[in-house]
């Protein structure tokens, strides 16, 4: 328990005041998010930013639906694109079939319903077993569905995909979703609804029993529940939300191609959930926001972005398996105990070596790409933040290698300080916990 709450606990009203202020802080935070989301277009009303924000919304829903499986039920799926993609195709077909017969605002439900139906069928197969078997079956199913997209061109539109027009009339008060701005508010509203719905689901008997299945499926059988049925329901419900994300994707881009079903799509949602943190509800939201921004930002400056993504994922898995959400949670606990000052000096100490290391790695990767592309470009020279480098010159490679070596060496020293700081801080936190504990 943190120091401020200990102080509050000394008065009779302490716990109540504490509870109210925490709940209040939560509402304030959510209200702030809503204000920012609603007001964002007033400040950056450029279509590039709006479509980036739209993509963040879609991916938030998709990542949350994925974490219903991985984080909440303990099911590692390599084929979640199946539900996202089929939801997108279903929505596009309904859009083209009804010609405005269903309001566009409700059309993502068609994607959800379509994906839910596929979940009812596929889930029956995939959830027979958990663990590695489930992961492998989900991979196989993902490949099967992705390859069917070329086998059934009538439904999937072959190489070109299928397209449609979301503007089906004048709409009420001129809201026909013809503009990106109107689409932005539609996606924002659906994202809010899906966040609320997936959160509520974690607070139901099924949601809690899914956590129990994640922790210990055998014991679940001995309290009267079928782990297999719980997995099945979670796959079906998660498919529903993935389908809504897919449906919004179809409306946003007005074209759906086989890419939405690809292993790349399945992979990126794992990346988002994991980097954000599968152990908490908000983790996948953080991951979806961060990865989508990185995707756009990094991809616009370097062709090597998949390499950086892979490296980033690797480092997160190795050093922060709880994701960004758990890093934040740990530091918040330290901050509340007024101990952050014990960590910051070591962090500052580590900043220089990390910079050297990152700079060296980026230099090497970019020089490698520049060298490969030198045939076309005629030169392997490049500038990174004004620093001239040449992939054909040995000196540039030596400089990069030296930067990495120095970074690694200094980091090994600074790393000791950081871990000392953490040992120190967690010892104090434990002592506080014992003192105020039961």
């Amino acid at each position: 328990m943190s120091a401020p709450s200990r102080m509050a606990g000394r008065t009779l009203l302490g716990p109540i005041v504490r509870g109210v202020s925490q709940a209040w802080a939560g509402w304030v935070a959510w209200a702030a998010v809503i204000v920012v989301v609603v007001a964002a277009p007033l400040f950056i009303n450029k279509s590039f930013f709006l479509s980036l924000l739209c993509r963040i919304g879609l991916m938030t829903i998709f990542a949350l639906s994925y974490n219903m499986l991985l984080g909440q039920t303990g099911l590692l799926s390599f084929g979640h694109a199946v539900y996202y993609g089929l939801g997108a195709f279903a929505t596009m077909h309904v859009l083209n079939a009804v010609h405005g017969g269903i309001p566009i605002t409700l059309l993502p439900l068609a994607g959800g319903a379509g994906a839910l139906l596929f979940g009812v069928v596929f889930g029956y197969v995939t959830t027979r077993k958990a663990g590695t078997t489930f992961a492998m079956i989900s991979l196989g199913l993902g490949e099967m569905v992705a390859s069917s997209s070329l086998m059934f061109p009538h439904f999937f539109g072959g190489e070109g995909g299928i397209s449609g027009n979301r503007v089906t009339g004048k709409g009420w008060f001129g809201i026909n979703f013809g503009t990106q701005l109107q689409m932005y508010y539609l996606i924002a509203a659906w994202t809010a609804v899906c966040i609320a719905a997936t959160w509520s689901l974690t607070q139901t008997p099924l949601g809690r029993m899914a956590n129990a299945v994640r922790d210990n499926p055998e014991r679940v059988e001995f309290v009267g529940y079928s782990p297999q049925w719980i997995r099945y329901l979670m796959v079906v419900l998660s498919g529903f939300f993935a389908g809504i994300a897919g449906g919004l994707t179809a409306l946003q881009y007005e074209i759906v191609t086989a890419e939405v079903l690809s292993d790349y799509t399945s992979g990126i949602v794992i990346l988002m959930a994991f980097v954000g943190g599968v152990g908490s509800f908000s983790g996948p939201i953080i991951g979806a926001v961060l990865i989508t921004i990185l995707q756009v930002a990094v991809a616009s400056v370097t062709p090597a972005w998949p390499f950086y993504f892979g490296l980033f994922f690797l480092i997160m898995v190795l050093y922060a398996p709880g994701g960004i959400a758990s890093i934040v949670a740990e530091h918040r606990a330290v901050w509340r105990a007024h101990l952050l000052s014990r960590l910051l000096p070591s962090y500052l100490l580590a900043a220089l070596p990390v910079t050297l290391l990152v700079a060296g790695i980026i230099a090497m990767v970019e020089m490698a790409y520049a060298t490969v592309n030198a045939v076309e470009r005629g030169t392997a020279e490049l500038h990174i933040l004004g620093v001239p480098l040449d992939g054909a010159a040995a000196l540039s490679w030596v400089e990069a290698a030296a930067s990495i070596a120095a970074g690694l060496f200094l980091l090994s020293l600074a790393g000791k300080k950081v871990s000392q700081g953490w040992q120190d801080v967690s010892a104090v936190l434990r002592a506080v916990a014992v003192e105020t504990g039961p």
Binding site: T204, P205, R208, F222
Partner: protein, 252 residues
């Protein structure tokens, strides 16, 4: 017949060619506290695994309250009012103590796979969970993650999950194993409390626990029941003394 909680008739278990349990026949009346004792490897835990359907039975009948339950999956047997604990602690480590126990009450209260009830508003589930936490002495630890409890606390939680659903036939597999004397005394008091008015079948090594708690005792040796009877009879049985208890019996 209807007063029998459990009736085993000719129950056998084979792993390949090895016979682990042979022709086990045993009647346990409702409300009895029955202990099963025997040397290591006698098949006590296997017998529990057959009754609770953790393992398939090779031959014979197992009747729970007059109904043959051989071939039913574990969850069906649990729903028919038999609940078991495990020798090796078997809890939900990343859920809070409160949630662990609540997972044990949800099915019985009829919430099943509901995703339309809010857990926080289920007053009956909360009250039943709080009652169980009170009984097992973990009320103060309700918000702690089960995985970080002490060993003795985890054993208590194990019993809490087992009894939470209100089953009237309770199987406890070595509930005091690995405990100190005082922890074991607490555990026995706890078991007495929570199995009041219920049928209890218990595997136990600790003779002082067995003779203090049991209405009747069965001795299992090499997969067969050597004797069944009230403690004084078992204590006096020469075959039992010779086969298993020996000197430790006279000390107990």
């Amino acid at each position: 017949m209807s007063t029998l909680a459990l009736r085993l008739n000719g129950v056998c278990k084979k792993f390949g060619r090895a016979t682990i349990l042979q022709d086990v026949t045993l009647d346990i009346p409702a409300g009895e506290r029955h202990c099963i004792i025997g040397p290591n490897g006698a098949g006590k835990s296997t017998l529990f695994n057959l009754i609770s359907a953790r393992l398939p039975t090779s031959a014979g009948q197992i009747e729970l309250k007059g109904e043959n339950v051989v071939g039913l999956p574990p969850l069906e047997i649990n729903r028919r009012g038999l609940s078991r604990s495990f020798q090796i602690t078997n809890i939900f480590p990343n859920l809070s103590v409160f949630d662990n126990v609540r997972c044990g009450v949800l099915w019985t209260l009829g919430y099943r796979y509901s995703f339309w009830h809010r857990l926080g508003k289920l007053r009956d589930a909360r009250e039943r969970t709080e009652q169980v936490l009170e009984q097992i002495g973990l009320s103060q630890r309700r918000d702690t993650l089960a995985g970080v409890l002490s060993y003795a606390e985890q054993r208590a939680l194990e019993i809490g999950i087992t009894i939470a659903g209100g089953a009237d036939v309770i199987l406890l597999d070595e509930p005091t194993s690995g405990m100190s004397r005082s922890e074991s005394d607490d555990a026995v008091a706890l078991i007495r409390r929570v199995t009041e008015g219920k049928t209890l079948v218990m595997v136990e090594h600790d003779m002082s626990v067995v003779f203090g708690l049991a209405d009747r005792i069965s001795v299992l040796v090499y997969g067969k029941i050597l004797a069944t009877g009230v403690p004084t009879v078992i204590r006096a049985n020469p075959a039992v003394q010779e086969a298993y208890l020996g000197k430790s019996l006279s000390r107990a």
